[in-house]
Amino acid sequence: MLYGTRLRALSILTAVTLTAGFGLAFFYAPMDADQGFMQKIFYVHVPLAIVALGGFVFGGVMAIQHLRTRDARYDLRSYVAIHLSLVLGAGVLITGSIWAKASWGHWWVWDEPTLVSFLVVFLLYATYQPLRFSIEDPERQARYASVFAITAGAFVPLNFLAVRLAQAYTHPRVFATTDGGLPAKMQLPFYLCLIGMALLFATLWKYEMASKHTSAQLRSLRRKLGGDDAVAPHGRSAAPSLGTSS
């Protein structure tokens, strides 16, 4: 069902959590010692990055399920997760560039492993849709896309690792306490923003899934009512084609 109660509740919960998270980030979290007000970008940029990378991993997990079961629904789940993560990833790169400009005076810094590794992951996944589009046979397309999603998913933990291992002094210092951790009054807004962002991903993913299923059902209904002539033939597409039963 496209607009069920659960999806509506999830949407409301997302809006409330994100609003609360951003509200706390601006009105409760203290100013950062080094960066001052511009550190507030942290509360949108970092959760966005974590959720985008998590979405890529989720896409990989769904791809594993697809290869195990050969169920087209898993391919669709993987496709939607990666598609959505790419959108969020674009947001990460833009907000990160804005933060870099404000912090370092440059839109991009090439010797910063965190930024470059995220860009590598983003560009890698940017080839996902062209790869799908280049394969006409739907079954082969789904299989190759799943293999790609799993392989590319292996790069994502490397990105997290790079953040941990990065010792570069050029990256904005957002954890400005003597012991180097996130101050307690910054933790609550940050975790709330992170939960809100994860909920946003879940909400948009569910809407997109519902939209794809509804589209397939409408196509099936049109075929039942008007016959094969009433349905336009499936053109070449990067999106997975669902069976009529889905």
Partner: protein, 61 residues
Amino acid sequence: MTDTLPDNTGYVAAAYLVFFALVLIYVVIMSSKLARFERELSELNELADRQVRERETVGAR
């Protein structure tokens, strides 16, 4: 921690605007899809009604 007045407000506003713009664009795309579904559904409804009427006409003969 310091209590200095906000600086670089423009950059912070820009970063949050980018985020909200992305979400807004996504919602607009979803709403256009919803509009298309509604249009298709009403077309299918008309098609189903027509078929029911045709069946009734044939049955009456």
